[in-house]
């Protein structure tokens, strides 16, 4: 496996959708290739940082304004 093959399979690897043989080949390559290992690790880290559940919590006043607006506009209207 070459570095460019790793890039081809990176998305499937991150999603865990490689089959056992492909995964093993990729892992073998990563053990020997620091550059690819760094790319895989830092891409994974990138996704993790954006997945942090604390990002953009819904502020209470925004939630209240939403429910007030919906109650005013929808509550007495037939769907």
């Amino acid at each position: 496996m070459k570095c460019t093959d790793v890039m081809q399979e990176l998305s499937d690897y991150l999603e865990g959708s490689l089959d056992a043989r492909e995964k093993q080949e990729l892992c073998e390559h990563l053990k020997k290739c620091h550059k690819c290992q760094v790319i895989v690790d830092t891409t994974q880290k990138t996704i993790e940082l954006y997945c942090d559940g604390e990002r953009f919590p819904l502020p209470n006043p925004v939630r209240e304004r939403l429910h007030d607006m919906l109650r005013t506009k929808c509550q007495n209207e037939p769907v």
Partner: protein, 202 residues
């Protein structure tokens, strides 16, 4: 298995949608409460602006209510409202002309193979060395530099956990176009974050 939590959540949602369609405002409000946090976060991620995100949130649920009779239960209620939210969010960006995206690197080397240029390792747990606000600024600027549809694909797939198929249907893209955009979006964000996070670059 009768106590599969996912099955009971799905059934519950189906029941709520049915009740809401039959005119129960309480059922509709329950659906709103269930998804409002996710829709607000998606609005923030697409528009990058709290006022726009609040408008996206309000318009999404108002439209959902108004179009509830058109909702057919062949998709999840959640993906149906996500579609509304994405359209609202992208429309806001067009209206504001607030697009800060930059042309994406194509990452193709001289032999035509895809390979990122930036391969320096990052410091371990770089986020722990930054104040929360500073980290947010870095993440947001990187996300803003992605063209809107690439950004949307990234957040739908990697943050909101929609499938490739659902994302494709929602954005009227092919499955392979979604995969290609997700790949390029991830590499672009990684390169942007590397500017701050790579080793020996304090």
């Amino acid at each position: 298995m009768s106590d599969n939590p996912q099955a009971s959540v799905a059934k519950d949602e189906y029941a709520l949608v049915t009740e809401a369609k039959a005119g129960s405002y309480a059922a509709f409000e329950e659906l709103v409460s269930r998804y409002e946090k996710k829709i607000y976060r998606l609005g923030m991620n697409i528009t990058g602006n709290p006022e726009d995100a609040e408008e996206v949130l309000q318009e999404t649920f108002l439209k959902a209510f108004q179009h509830l009779p058109d909702f057919r239960e062949d998709s999840r209620f959640y993906t149906w409202i996500v579609r509304i939210a994405v359209n609202e969010g992208l429309m806001k960006l067009r209206k504001r002309r607030s697009d800060k995206s930059v042309p994406l690197e194509d990452y193709v080397d001289e032999e035509g193979a895809v390979m990122p240029r930036e391969v320096a390792d990052w410091r371990p747990n770089p986020e722990e060395q930054l104040a929360q606000a500073e980290l947010e600024g870095i993440l947001n600027n990187a996300a803003r530099s992605l063209p809107p549809t690439f950004r949307t694909v990234f957040f739908l797939r990697d943050v909101e956990g929609l499938s490739t198929q659902e994302t494709a249907e929602l954005l009227n893209l092919t499955v392979s176009a979604v995969k290609a955009r997700l790949f390029r979006a991830r590499l672009h964000l990684r390169d942007e974050l590397a500017k701050t996070f790579k080793r020996g670059d304090n």
